[in-house]
């Protein structure tokens, strides 16, 4: 017997994974947040159909994929939306990458320690609390400077993560 509490428990535990999936398919964070809401409502409505013997996340992600397609049809003329073919490819790529997500997250912690204090400061400015624009303005930086710095740091972090995984013996990196 699946109860409301079961749904709330599973959704609370796994909604971050669904949100990450949506961020991959929908670059606009506001649109992604909107779809995430639709997904949570939709999953609750379909809760009776859920087979508790099967894993929750793939079920939720499959549902989220169709929500993205529905949303895309409505927004076909909006900027910054990927084509259907790309969404399908991204969906497949996301599923391929899922097994190593946890390893990459762990590697990230080590890679962050290798950054210089200045690079940490850039990350705080971009991802920390407070408004990015007002932080940058107060300290006399243009937004272009912040974004350029982010591009460089994220690129370094990705390389570092990849190296870590390779050293740890993951075969498919």
């Amino acid at each position: 017997m699946k109860t409301t509490a079961d749904f709330v428990r599973l959704w609370t535990r796994h909604q971050t994974e669904v949100a990450r999936y949506l961020a991959t398919l929908v670059p606009n964070p506001h649109s992604a947040a909107e779809i995430l809401q639709q997904v949570s409502v939709g999953l609750w409505e379909k809760w009776a159909d859920y087979d508790p013997d099967r894993p929750f996340v793939p079920w939720a992600i499959r549902f989220a994929y169709f929500e993205v397609l529905k949303w895309r049809q409505k927004q076909a003329r909006e900027r910054l939306i990927f084509s259907d073919q790309t969404l399908e490819n991204l969906h497949a790529a996301f599923e391929n990458e899922t097994p190593l997500q946890e390893a990459r997250r762990a590697a990230l912690e080590g890679c962050l320690k290798k950054l210089t204090p200045q690079e940490h400061r850039w990350l705080e400015r971009r991802y920390g609390r407070g408004s990015l624009r007002s932080n940058a303005q107060e300290e006399g930086f243009s937004m272009n400077q912040v974004y350029y710095a982010m591009e460089q740091i994220r690129s370094r972090l990705l390389q570092c993560i990849q190296l870590c995984l390779k050293k740890e013996g993951w075969s498919d990196v």
């Binding site: 990458e97 705080e124 920390g128 300290e139 400077q145 974004y147 710095a149 591009e151």
Partner: protein, 313 residues
């Protein structure tokens, strides 16, 4: 190893600063190349993880010094050097071999309105991609009669030479150049169906006869070997080393400061093309006894687009 251009595109999409054209270009690249797809998925994942850490306050470093624009420049220069070492030789080839040219439109590879970047470096033909370089120029706002074509700034041609130029006589052509790395688009070049179109606008404060100027833009398609072996330093040999070149149409600069004259050059890309060398130039075409005069002529609104040859004209 990474391809800087692809990384930059991904980064701009993640940071929501990409234009519609850039997003569409990434969309195409994600379909052409499974490795680009993987890189994009991993980059979004990283961004998401950093957001989670940031909102939890876990990104703070106790020793973080406050950055100032001064030490930012130092940081950027170090980072750029590091990035330059691995200029995407590996990842440029990622896009090869997945030839499904689905591009239906023309893609803007860059537009230049001289609004924010510094003026081109006055050091002749560039040796590295993505930077304007050439004769002496300066970025200016409106002049007495000429206003920028777009925005608030334009580029003024100050002279037809640069300090340290090795030339027997003063030059009569004032040029700026830009080297473009096309290796990320190699799979498109390989089809033989794609080309580029360069356009630029010219204008000048009023000038009297006998002064006269001829404007032109040119494109050289080059392979990596030509760029690597120093031929760019001896640019007079470039025509014979280029895989293809086009100097486009030429126009005598009119004397009306209200009109910006647009010049184009298109070039079908031969399959071995790795780089493009772009030139935007203005030549003083008066008799040799007339002194060379630059300083009131301007360039603005430069654009390079990539597209199917059939759609470029």
């Amino acid at each position: 190893m990474s391809d800087p251009r692809l990384n930059s595109l991904i980064s701009r999409v993640i940071d929501q600063t990409a234009t519609r054209e850039e997003t569409e270009l990434l969309d195409e690249l994600l379909n052409l190349n499974p490795e680009a797809l993987t890189r994009y998925v991993q980059a979004v994942e990283l961004h998401f993880n950093l957001e989670s850490l940031g909102s939890a306050g876990s990104l703070e470093s106790p020793q973080s010094p406050v950055l100032t624009p001064q030490n930012w420049k130092r940081w950027i220069s170090t980072t750029s050097m590091a990035a330059g070492i691995c200029v995407g030789l590996f990842a440029a080839s990622l896009l090869q071999g997945y030839v499904q040219p689905r591009l239906q439109k023309n893609w803007v590879l860059f537009t230049e309105n001289f609004e924010s970047d510094p003026a081109p470096i006055a050091s002749g033909v560039p040796q590295e991609p993505d930077h304007w370089s050439g004769d002496e120029t300066r970025r200016t706002g409106s002049g007495p009669r000429v206003s920028p074509l777009n925005g608030h700034s334009m580029l003024q041609l100050v002279s037809a030479d640069y300090q340290g130029k090795n030339a027997a006589a003063p030059s009569r052509t004032s040029s700026i150049w830009k080297l473009i790395d096309l290796r990320p688009y190699k799979s498109l070049c390989a089809t033989g169906n794609f080309g580029v179109q360069l356009s630029a606008h010219f204008n000048a404060e009023p000038f009297e006869a006998p002064l006269q100027y001829m404007a032109y833009v040119s494109i050289h398609a080059l392979d990596s070997e030509t760029v690597r072996n120093g031929t760019l330093q001896d640019w007079k040999k470039l025509d014979s080393k280029a895989l293809a070149l086009n100097r486009g149409n030429r126009a005598v600069l009119d004397r009306d400061p209200r009109t910006w004259q647009r010049l184009n050059a298109s070039l079908a890309l031969p399959s071995p093309t790795d780089f493009l060398l772009l030139e935007i130039a203005l030549k003083q075409t008066t008799p040799p006894d007339v002194p060379i005069q630059f300083g009131t002529q301007s360039i603005d609104g430069i654009r390079l687009i990539l597209g199917r040859n059939s759609r470029l004209d």
